[in-house]
Symmetry: C2
Subunit: 402 residues, 2 copies
């Protein structure tokens, strides 16, 4: 590529075109939906492309279809957030919403606060805008707000506050942890006190298997300007629809809308979702999603307990993932490679650490229970255990052979 001078952000990327996973492997890596849960949207699409053709095949209004923004606002209001359609900007999925937040706030050299570990796809997006990361540890209740308070105090004293705090409070990706309400209150208070924007990424919020929802960070936002919530239909309905949103202060959303290059995002998929939701189909579908993924989680927890008793993990009450702590002597990167060779794809935990130096980086892998069916979950765990055994843990060997 001698003829093109790349931007700094682009030189950090490996110029490899991503490919899909091989078909004969069991995919514990992806955030794909279980195929049996993909809804029948043919009637909605037929309606969208006939009755609503003049809407769905033209450009949408840049903030998104007004009716969909209203529906999303109502959906969030039922969940406790004080929002109207004016607080909702439709995007091409939640990652696009995160990118718009980066474009809104980050100048090269700014910093952003993330948890250790954090959502691995957020890392390159934030980094590509030239931000540096400040990591805050988390425990079984999520981001350590005492540690955060110290970080923010130091940053304030240095006059270099971070541009935003990025967090996944519900069924955290990858750890599965859900923050209790007291912790959430403390987090919002810190953000408000230091006037640092709080970005609540919550794609799995409705994918809850048991227990009651904890108030969202957005619902705890005192004046509506402290928190931007990123939402999506990907994890509940279908990733392929590419419809997400950002919910926040109208003045921020207006600027984010100006930065959108996908015009008003896709009006066809917006209308399909709207017809699905307006017909009241979402509640029944959500129940089915919860029931199915609960069964997937239970199956994977049982399979792991049997085949890999040496790994430890916290059982999440929702979401798509388990975060497996490996026994001493097994490296997550090495296990992910071996597992791939053995026919099951998992993600090395190291990919979820924004900074290089953390000693925990090699100690984990993330496994998704969403995409694979129940029998494949059993078989995938067997393959994973065999891969771990090949790396030398006696316990895994015994379990895998049983």
């Amino acid at each position: 590529m001698p003829s093109v001078l790349l931007a700094r952000r682009a030189t950090q990327l490996s110029p490899v075109m991503p490919t899909s996973s091989a078909h004969d492997k069991i995919a514990f890596d992806s955030g794909h939906a279980f195929p049996g849960l993909l809804p029948d949207l043919t009637a909605e699409a037929d309606d969208a492309l006939s009755r609503f053709r003049a809407e769905t095949l033209q450009y949408a209004p840049r903030p998104g279809l007004p009716e969909l923004r209203e529906w999303i606002a109502g959906h969030m209001a039922e969940d406790g957030a004080r929002v109207t359609a004016e607080n909702v900007l439709v995007t091409n999925g939640a990652k696009h919403a995160l990118e718009l937040v980066c474009r809104l706030t980050i100048d090269e050299g700014d910093s952003v606060i993330v948890t250790t570990p954090t959502y691995f796809s957020a890392i390159p997006i934030i980094r590509s805008y030239g931000a540096t990361f400040v990591e805050v540890p988390q425990d079984r209740e999520g981001m350590d707000v005492d540690a955060l308070a110290q970080v923010l105090d130091r940053a304030a004293a240095a006059g270099r506050l971070p541009k935003f705090i990025y967090n996944v409070p519900d069924f955290h990706n990858p750890t599965g942890v859900t923050m209790p309400v007291e912790r959430r209150r403390a987090l919002v208070e810190l953000a408000v006190r230091h006037r640092v924007l709080l970005v609540e990424d919550s794609p799995y919020r409705k994918v809850r298997f048991e227990g009651r929802s904890v108030p969202s960070l957005k619902s705890l936002d005192p004046d509506g300007t402290a928190v931007i919530q990123l939402g999506t239909f990907s994890k509940l309905l279908a990733p392929g629809l590419r419809v997400g949103w950002a919910a926040g202060a109208p003045e921020l959303l207006a600027r984010m809308a100006q930065l959108k290059t996908d015009a008003g995002s896709c009006p066809l998929t917006q209308r399909v979702i709207l017809e699905f939701c307006a017909a009241g189909r979402l509640d029944a579908h959500t129940a089915r999603v919860q029931e199915t993924y609960r069964a997937h989680r239970d199956r994977m927890v049982r399979a792991l307990a049997q085949a890999m008793p040496e790994v430890s993990f916290q059982v999440p009450n929702g979401g798509y993932y388990l975060w497996l702590a490996l026994p001493a002597g097994i490296d997550g990167d090495e296990l992910a490679r071996r597992a791939g060779d053995a026919g099951v794809i998992v993600i090395a935990g190291s990919k979820f650490f924004a900074l290089g130096g953390n000693e925990q980086r090699g100690r984990f892998i993330r496994v998704a229970f969403s995409h694979a069916g129940l029998d494949d979950i059993d078989e995938g765990v067997r393959r994973l255990a065999a891969a771990a055994h090949s790396l030398g843990t006696g316990a895994a060997a015994g379990a895998a052979a049983s």
Copy 2:
């Protein structure tokens, strides 16, 4: 918004949420399709959401659906470009492709070459990445390559070459000019000699009313690394589908793919388009588009000749727009405002100038003949003429009253 520190790029934006045009006004401003041309895609969508459900509702491979990339490559190969699927990256419309080129190449303070005037939506995208503009004049054959050669020589001598040259060679937006092949050859040679990336934005290429296609810049690319062509289905099929592409060197596309935050873009709309094209429906549809917009153009040309003989313009052989040079004493911004009050929406020419100082800025307006029907074209031109008359040109007054 006291709690959020904005990035420099975001502070330049007016925090106003864009809205749609009022319904009772005639829209000569938009690049919307004529509603009567929007195709019936219900059968394609039904197929996409039943037979292909496992593909269309999951994440797409990041570069786009392999079959669609192949179809696009074949379509471009028929048009003379030496490309395969490896040279095609599917994006969320052509503007998204332009944004990815910006992310790929621009560091703050870099420069980008554009024509005077240039596509008004490209300006804020390029600017938002911190680039400055270098304007190159154009004449009735497009970008002035002699002026470009001087600009590049000076930039090379200063060691500050621009990151890319942005151009719309077919039915230029807003001027409607199409570059002859000699001019194109000279442009590509200059880009190759100076090793500056050439970005060919060509959304209207197939919307040709008469005459033969001129070879695309991409088809003149000597080794496949000099030109990135941006394409889209928006102007031929439907803007709402939000499917475009970038065609260029695989190493560049691989990095652009890593920078995408919309995953593999929307597989549902990609499959709908693919089924439409694979069924051979595109050729007949293209013929209908050409015939319809030719009639729209002819109607607007005639209406303008009758009602506003004092404006001058070059009749384009394709595209969506006329670029009207106003008589002395009429300012384009003022006329656009008055026209809006009179019930016809046009875009002030000043919006198409990347730099502030150009003396031509106030001399033009852009009118689109795509969206409005034939009778509305007549009525819209009458309103426009009345608005011009109210600004005091006798000629317009006489014509508008006749």
